[in-house]
């Protein structure tokens, strides 16, 4: 049932990038960073440090104030289906059923209807919502809606997934389940992921590396995606260092 061979992840690079809205103040400091294909980079930082702006710049929705942003060496100057964005909430189109939402990226790419149906059903099955295809988003719980968003983002088979605090509005229990689901469904897609969160534990669990956006420092995560490594000495040390710098 799995779709054709996954496309390789994209390499994203930021070179001396100053972030900010074109008609607002720029965010202090510049970011220089290279995200290798297939990496999951977690981004943490205080509110207002430009986490969402960073994602929108990588998506191509905002131009950088200075510096260059590239995907595989090509400057990013517009949004593209290659780089999907996942939002904290409210991003599903409320007039489309769950299935129609998941089919949307495929419809935009003019995938034939039968194939769209098949792919959407497959993705809904993977996120555990096979029985909810005909519901409208407002008939689902917050956690279910985020699962639909994941399915929709991945159905378009992007080479990079940019996630803006996708589990930030969920309760602790649902959030842990969603983290496991994310790890599971990302496996085999090869996609590069930039995951913004305000939760240091979430960053240390999901990320291969953690970017602290306020200071621009990047550090490796000792035990990426190991549930029982939460209290390992390496993780404790990393958590202490991140919290100190925030």
């Amino acid at each position: 049932m799995s779709p054709a061979p996954a496309p390789a992840g994209a390499e994203l690079t930021l070179d001396a990038v100053r972030l900010g809205h074109p008609d607002g103040a720029a965010i202090p400091g510049t970011v220089t960073l290279s995200i290798p294909p297939g990496e999951l980079l977690a981004v943490v930082g205080p509110s207002g440090c430009g986490k969402s702006t960073l994602l929108r710049t990588l998506a191509g929705l905002l131009p950088p104030r200075e510096g260059t942003v590239r995907q595989d060496g090509q400057p990013i100057d517009r949004p593209a289906a290659d780089r999907a964005l996942v939002f904290q909430h409210d991003a599903l189109l409320p007039w489309r059923t769950v299935r129609a939402n998941v089919e949307l990226p495929l419809a935009i790419r003019r995938v034939p209807r039968a194939e769209r149906r098949r792919s959407a059903a497959d993705w809904l099955d993977r996120v555990g919502l096979a029985g909810h295809a005909h519901k409208l988003p407002h008939q689902l719980s917050g956690g279910q809606r985020q699962r639909v968003q994941l399915a929709r983002a991945l159905a378009g088979r992007p080479r990079a997934v940019l996630m803006d605090e996708p589990f930030g509005a969920l309760d602790a229990h649902t959030r842990a389940g969603m983290q496991d689901l994310l790890v599971e469904i990302l496996r085999g897609t090869g996609a590069t992921v930039v995951f913004v969160t305000h939760d240091v534990d979430e960053a240390l669990h999901l990320g291969d590396r953690v970017l602290r956006l306020g200071s621009g420092q990047v550090m490796g995560v000792p035990h990426p995606r190991e549930r029982d490594a939460r209290t390992a000495p390496g993780t404790e040390e990393a958590r202490r260092r991140i919290l100190e710098s925030l």
Binding site: A80, A81, F87, D90, A91, L93, L104, P105, I108
Partner: protein
């Protein structure tokens, strides 16, 4: 809507008609003078006579034709212009000031303009109807488009969608609830203006006929015209409302009366159930006795529940 509410609605109309009949047949003169006023029976018999004539249906057809053309034009162009003004800086700069200057002019004041510009009276009336409905639709659409959730558009853009796709898949469906608000207002003012324009410059139509009856002092005829306008207006706005509900059936909406009203009604109904089922089958176990002391509310919540076998912790 249940039978009780229908009855109340019909009763309200009937009471108004009865009051009218009483005041006019008794020739009441208490500062307000009802001596010259036609009675309900007179109006009804005039109505019955008119309905049998072809002129009546011709007039009806003319008015409906004019409002349909004018209103549809206003709906299409109003949505297009409202979307353009909300989405494009150029459109906002070019059309915005013009709209704000023309909008306050009552459509019926444009009769001279219509007469100067358009070759026939017929087109003039349609033009005035169009202008009346155009601005409410434009303004509602503009607001609705500006109030769209930004994440919807960003999501479609990052799926590789272009400007047209955003328009088709986000802007138009997302603005629809607001657009229908404008269409509801628009159909109302369109009726006001089509009737007024017919009174001024029409050759046929319900408004023209009503004014004719007035000039020959046929008061029952005038009221037949008014009743016809009222009925047509009610019919068309119900149709717009209905289409709006169909088109925006995805909206999470409470039942009529709003969430607060509905929940109050539900509580009242629950209270009635409590009162009307006082002798509920007696329970033998202890927690049912406790329930009886605390009032029968617990039973009313589940009136069909079988007596519980074991006490609930």
């Amino acid at each position: 809507m249940n039978a009780g509410r229908r009855l109340v609605r019909a009763g309200s109309l009937a009471a108004a008609l009865l009051l009218w009949q009483l005041l006019t047949s008794l020739d009441v003169n208490l500062w307000l003078r009802f001596e010259q006023f036609p009675t309900v029976v007179e109006v009804a018999s005039a109505f019955a006579d008119r309905v049998g004539t072809t002129t009546y249906w011709q007039d009806l057809g003319h008015s409906l034709g004019r409002i349909t053309v004018g209103f549809l034009l206003a709906a299409v162009l109003g949505v297009a212009a409202g979307t353009a003004v909300a989405r494009s800086r150029w459109a906002a700069d070019l059309l915005g000031p013009l709209v704000e200057v023309v909008r306050p002019v009552p459509a019926i004041a444009l009769v001279p303009v219509a007469i100067l510009l358009l070759p026939t009276n017929e087109q003039g009336i349609v033009f005035i109807t169009f202008t009346a409905a155009f601005f409410p639709v434009l303004v509602s659409t503009r607001h609705a488009v500006r109030a769209l959730t930004p994440a919807w558009e960003e999501a479609v853009l990052t799926m590789g969608g272009g400007r047209l796709r955003v328009l088709r898949s986000v802007v138009l469906p997302g603005a629809l609830p607001g657009v229908f608000g404008g269409l509801s207002v628009g159909i109302g003012v369109a009726w006001i203006c089509v009737i007024s324009a017919e009174m001024i410059s029409g050759e046929y139509g319900v408004g023209y006929r009503t004014w004719q009856d007035y000039t020959v002092v046929d008061y029952p005829g005038v009221f037949v015209g008014m009743a016809t306008i009222g009925g047509l207006g009610w019919l068309t706005s119900t149709a717009v409302e209905f289409l709006g509900r169909r088109a925006t059936s995805w909206l999470p909406r409470p039942t009529a009366g709003g969430a607060a009203g509905t929940s109050r009604a539900l509580f009242r109904r629950a209270a009635r159930v409590t009162r009307t089922t006082p002798e509920f089958p007696a329970h033998s176990d202890t927690d049912a006795d406790a329930g009886a002391k605390a009032g029968v509310l617990a039973d009313a919540a589940a009136p069909t529940a079988v007596p519980r076998k074991e006490p609930v912790p």
